[in-house]
Assembly symmetry: C2
């Protein structure tokens, strides 16, 4: 078995071109991970997910522990086999969802007791149980259990929340069962306070992880503030470990974060948007429901290799979305995930060739242009 590792191939400014090696294969970085919350990237087959170029998907501990249950997934051979995704999987710790989805949460030093939003049953998540669940799911990358700090929050709230997360990070490290090719990532907290972020990084690097995530961003603080946090946080992280910006984001968020040294991303945006007819293109997002697409024989994007663009007109896609046909979300999601993977491939190529600044500037210029109306 290969060890879990990060290989740095090239840098361009703060940006990095690397490879994360896991038990279930390599991940070329910078990488975007499609979100497969409940053991499926919504509206896509895993074959289709792989066809976009995606090498790793994300699963949600909170959802999977409640349904179908981690023990069941384990009995059925783990999440890879269960969902037919033979490649790497990262699972979150459940910390974010338990605060955003569960009912009647009770937070203590020990962990979080909550009621399932599905059936009202009682459960507890702690660093130890989160590690146990993620091990049963067979995640290549396990995330430390942390508290999702609310935003906005007072400095005192952010500080005590970060400190709790750091104690939980140590307990996560202790409870994590090391296996070759499997890694545990710590999560930097501290909100938008530089000194708290610095203390959080110091605490995590003291413990030592196979990778470092930046958490608590993309929660409403805005891109400018997010980039500011990355500007002072990312340079503190070890250069020989992957860096993961959780829950980010819009295409221009990703480009800016890659420029600031982030290696991994996840976000529901391409999949969720696909289900509502929001389409990502190099000229910015378009809304398929808009009547201007009703007679447009052009594809969503002229040069996109995805099946939606290869085989269908905007007029047809518009029709599917208007008619509420399931093929609409299927094709739109397929395109959006392809768009994100093409975005990442472009960034990887640009970093490798030392032309990221020009590439990013061209991306931003085109993305801001807006869609061209049909002739």
């Amino acid at each position: 078995m290969t060890d879990f590792s990060f290989t740095l191939h090239a840098t361009d400014g703060q940006a990095r071109r690397g490879t994360v090696t896991t038990a279930h294969g390599p991940v070329e970085t910078p990488a975007f991970m499609p979100v497969g919350t409940a053991g499926t990237v919504k509206a896509m087959t895993p074959e289709d997910v792989a066809a976009t170029g995606a090498e790793i998907v994300l699963g949600n501990t909170y959802h999977l522990m409640l349904r179908p249950g981690a023990e069941r997934v384990e009995r059925l051979g783990g999440l890879h086999r269960f969902m037919n995704w033979p490649g790497p999987i990262l699972t979150d710790s459940g910390g974010f969802q338990v605060m955003s989805l569960a009912d009647l949460r009770k937070l203590t030093e020990e962990g979080v007791r909550f009621r399932s939003h599905i059936d009202g049953s009682y459960h507890t998540l702690s660093p130890e149980s989160s590690m146990d669940i993620q091990r049963r799911l067979d995640a290549d990358i396990t995330m430390a259990f942390d508290e999702c700090t609310k935003y906005p929050a007072s400095r005192e709230e952010v500080e005590s929340s970060m400190e709790l997360s750091m104690r939980w990070a140590a307990r996560s490290r202790a409870a994590f069962v090391a296996r070759p090719g499997y890694g545990l990532f710590g999560i930097v907290q501290g909100g938008v306070h530089q000194d708290l972020r610095e203390r959080s990084v110091a605490a995590l690097t003291d413990i030592g992880f196979e990778g470092y995530a930046v958490g608590g961003l993309a929660v409403g603080e805005g891109q400018e503030l997010m980039f500011e946090v990355l500007d002072y946080t990312v340079p503190l992280l070890p250069t020989d470990k992957p860096r993961y910006l959780m829950g980010v984001g819009k295409p221009d968020d990703i480009v800016g974060a890659v420029e600031r040294g982030i290696d991994m991303f996840d976000c529901v945006l391409p999949t969720r948007s696909g289900r509502t007819g929001q389409i990502f293109t190099a000229r910015g997002p378009i809304n398929l429901k808009n009547a201007r697409h009703a007679d447009d024989p052009r594809p969503l994007e002229e040069d996109c290799p995805c099946p939606a663009c290869a085989n269908y007109s905007r007029a047809y896609m518009h029709h599917l979305v208007r008619a509420g046909e399931m093929l609409g979300p299927m094709l739109a999601t397929r395109h959006n995930v392809q768009f994100y993977q093409r975005l990442m491939a472009g960034l990887r190529g640009a970093i490798a060739e030392g032309r990221l600044a020009a590439h990013a500037a061209a991306f931003r210029r085109t993305y801001a242009m807006g869609d061209i109306a049909p002739l």
Copy 2:
């Protein structure tokens, strides 16, 4: 261009093995046509539909005339191009849906005036407008415009409805624009009355069509009565034209109708059932929502080549359906359409080899056995 034709390869009792040749390719019969109501076989890509072995799909005039509109589909290159289905397409006439879906219908000798169930707009369907719409959609097989007789109905109601449909059949024939490889099918009506069915067949064969459909069945009369109608109706139909039993049906309905000389079928059952977690198997239908599947590592069917059976456990399929994940309907529909196509392939092989009686008996015996519980 090839002419529209029907070639009879073999018979076995009343059953027939043939080929319908159309402008967009051949259809081996007996054939099942997946229903693509609004220009999409719900929850499937056309590539997936073709991969099941389906050679022809059905489109609905009523739905497509209202959204996206027949003129629009025509401008965009016709239904084949619009929905990326290069093979043969049959469109119904709109007669059935206008009676079951539209609001404020007003039926006259001229046709049916109605309000759209989508936006309340007013429309008229007549033999002439139905032919025009189906031509614009570019249907390989156009269905004559008929009145869908309600069931149950008095003999007098059935008789006058049938007579109206026969007058509309003559007007459909007159309005249909002949093109090489395109055909018009007449629809036999007459409810469960032998003499009315006989008069309807006589009226239609006098007019002359490229194929003959049996309409007004599978509307609640039950399998026994349906087979009885087929027993006395089908032998009256020309042997050199295809015979299409509209809206049928359950797998055992299809087997019995093939034994009675029917060549073509359509039904929403495999697709609609797939969306609710009802799965067809050789041992009868199963309900994926049932808790007994929650830990079952077996596929839906051991010997099925579909992606759902090749790649996933019943436990996973159960999870998807319970969790309301779109991949559940996608995979379940894929399997069900595959099941129907395997059913038809089995019937075609059995007729060709003169062993239909034994094949049908074995099918019925196994289908009635019920699903085997997991060990």
